[in-house]
């Protein structure tokens, strides 16, 4: 391909500017969180605060049970993600490797659960939770979300790509279907599984609306909902609010930075084939 120096320069300018815009809200969060309250409303577009002020962070720790929220989020997310992957793997395996009557219908059902907004059944789901006595409990938060269409769908796509010969080979070796699952499928699709796990981890961590509906007690909240409640006074104080937002986002951003390979590289687009 033919690239002049000039067109390369333009390319990088466009990409660079866009990257700045894309990252700006995150940088802004950081900047404001370290600023002084009074200077915030007077600043224009300075990326670094003139003085580094951690009052906002101190206030978050002072006024809110941040660590408790962090633990809640961590616990729920790890638990839920694990369950989603375990159940999802079994289901994906069942839907990909075997043929049986009703397979297409079941797959359609899985697709439906992916496509229909959860808020369409939010109210009756809530009533179901109530009847189990799970309001304001982590049962109510976790159980309805264990069966996740996205996970089943993606894993099924990856499983479908594993050559059948491996399957048959393991059968010949005397493995039953469970062992085949473990030795053949999980091992071969491991990077893909890690990808799906990480993406689900982020999604579960960031979940907002269901936690908003189910959890009524401040101490049990997960971070995304908790930071919004922190804002809900008659004043929106920018500095502590942004500090709280940063603190809620940092764990996931770190996970992303360290695990970027799994987020970005493993062929998510293979799901389209």
């Amino acid at each position: 391909m033919y690239h002049s120096r000039f067109s390369r320069l333009v390319l990088h300018i466009v990409l660079g500017l866009t990257a700045c815009i894309v990252v700006f809200p995150f940088l802004w969060m950081l900047t404001v969180s370290f600023s002084e309250q009074s200077s915030v409303l007077n600043r224009v577009l300075i990326i670094f605060p003139s003085t580094w002020n951690i009052e906002g962070y101190k206030e978050v720790f002072r006024q809110t049970p941040y660590f408790r929220w962090f633990l809640n989020s961590s616990f729920i997310t790890i638990l839920l993600t694990t369950l989603q992957l375990v159940f999802g793997t079994f289901a994906a395996y069942g839907l990909s490797r075997f043929t049986f009557p009703g397979r297409e219908l079941l797959f359609f059902l899985v697709l439906c659960t992916m496509m229909i907004p959860p808020q369409a059944i939010m109210l009756p789901s809530y009533m179901v939770i109530t009847s189990f006595g799970w309001v304001n409990s982590y049962w109510g938060l976790v159980m309805p979300n264990i069966a996740k269409g996205y996970v089943i769908f993606m894993l099924r796509q990856f499983f479908l790509q594993i050559p059948r010969q491996l399957d048959e080979a393991s059968q010949i070796d005397g493995c039953n279907s469970l062992q085949t699952l473990y030795h053949v499928y999980l091992v071969s699709a491991l990077p893909a599984i890690i990808s799906v796990t990480l993406i689900q981890f982020v999604r579960n961590w960031n979940d907002y609306y269901w936690a908003l509906v189910v959890i009524t007690e401040k101490l049990k909240l997960t971070l995304p909902v908790a930071i919004v409640t922190f804002r809900d006074e008659t004043l929106v104080r920018w500095v502590p609010t942004m500090a709280a937002a940063v603190l809620s986002v940092i764990p996931v951003v770190l996970l992303y930075l360290f695990g970027q390979r799994y987020f970005l590289e493993t062929n998510l687009a293979s799901g389209t084939k």
């Binding site: 990088h12 990409l15 866009t18 894309v22 700006f24 809200p25 995150f26 802004w28 969060m29 915030v40 600043r43 224009v44 577009l45 999802g88 079994f90 289901a91 395996y93 069942g94 839907l95 490797r97 075997f98 049986f100 397979r103 697709l111 439906c112 496509m115 229909i116 907004p117 369409a120 059944i121 109210l123 009756p124 789901s125 009533m127 179901v128 159980m143 309805p144 069966a147 089943i152 059968q171 279907s177 982020v202 961590w205 960031n206 907002y208 908003l212 995304p224 929106v236 920018w238 937002a245 940063v246 986002v249 996931v252 996970l255 992303y256 970005l264 998510l268 687009a269 389209t272 084939k273």
Partner: protein, 289 residues
């Protein structure tokens, strides 16, 4: 492959049970409630047939919520998809900086929608937010973003595009990688321009990816809720009330279970129909073995 008859069912059963309890049953329950007048606190139920639906269709606010939702979806989705494609192409060409750009563009996807909303709440602040301050540098007086009916929904759309197009960039990049470079070389020999190459080679070969991207983006687009609830509360004067927000507000603010259920059932049925149509098409283009 030999296996016992019951094996596949055993693998699927756990998920199926959960789906039955938390997806299928709630749908029918919602359908049932929507045909009743139900006081959730006292438990009184009276069958009223289609009355709730009639009230719903007569409600200007519900109509507005559908209009706003469609406006949102059919603006945010195309922007997100097209930008995803454009930037995927650009980043692919950027050589060694590719890794850095890719990393940065995906960041909005991992930031929780509530943290992002709080950040945007200050960014869109009319008098002191950086956005209007930036516009002022060019002599433009920024709109009263979140407080004006004309700009509230656009603000929500902007956030929606921001948060989603990075994911599409990654998807398109994976797709682009799989296109055989030789095709482009052959086209070069024929003297094709960059534009021609894009139209005749890139786009057609990317069509399965595009299809996937469009479907995924559209479906998550219909679910817009958190940004509305945090930034505008559906306002000003319902200018940013979207379908899902309408349902949530009826159910959890006004405790109107009947109206909420009807609106929710309608959404469910609408998306079900859309899924059906999409899956049919999907099967035709993709399920080749």
């Amino acid at each position: 492959m030999t296996y016992k008859r019951w094996e596949p069912y055993a693998y699927i059963a756990p998920v199926l049970v959960l789906f039955a309890v938390f997806f299928i049953f709630p749908f029918f329950y919602s359908l049932f409630i929507s045909f009743n007048d139900w006081n959730i606190l006292t438990g009184d139920k009276t069958f009223v047939g289609l009355k709730n639906y009639r009230t719903l269709f007569a409600s200007k606010i519900f109509g507005l919520s559908i209009r706003n939702t469609l406006l949102y979806v059919f603006t945010q989705m195309p922007c997100s998809v097209i930008l995803g494609f454009l930037y995927a192409v650009l980043i692919e060409k950027s050589g060694r900086a590719k890794v850095v750009y890719r990393l940065l563009f995906f960041i909005p996807v991992v930031i929780s929608v509530s943290a992002a909303s709080l950040s945007f709440l200050t960014i869109f602040n009319t008098m002191h937010g950086p956005l209007n301050a930036f516009l002022k540098l060019f002599g433009i007086t920024g709109p009263n973003w979140l407080n004006s009916p004309k700009s509230a929904l656009p603000a929500i759309i902007i956030i929606g595009v921001w948060q989603s197009f990075g994911y599409n960039v990654i998807l398109y990049m994976s797709g682009l990688k799989q296109i055989d470079g030789q095709l482009y070389e052959a086209a070069d020999l024929d003297g094709a321009s960059a534009l021609r190459k894009t139209i005749s080679i890139t786009l057609p070969l990317l069509s399965p990816v595009s299809f996937f991207v469009i479907v995924i983006t559209t479906l998550s687009s219909f679910q817009v809720f958190a940004t509305v609830q945090i930034l505008t509360n559906g306002g000003p004067n319902n200018a940013s009330t979207v379908w899902v927000f309408y349902i949530w507000r009826e159910a959890f603010r006004y405790f109107e279970t009947s109206t909420a259920s009807s609106a929710a059932t309608l959404l469910f049925v609408f998306m079900l129909a859309a899924t059906f149509v999409l899956v049919r098409h999907f099967q035709k283009t993709v399920f080749y073995k």
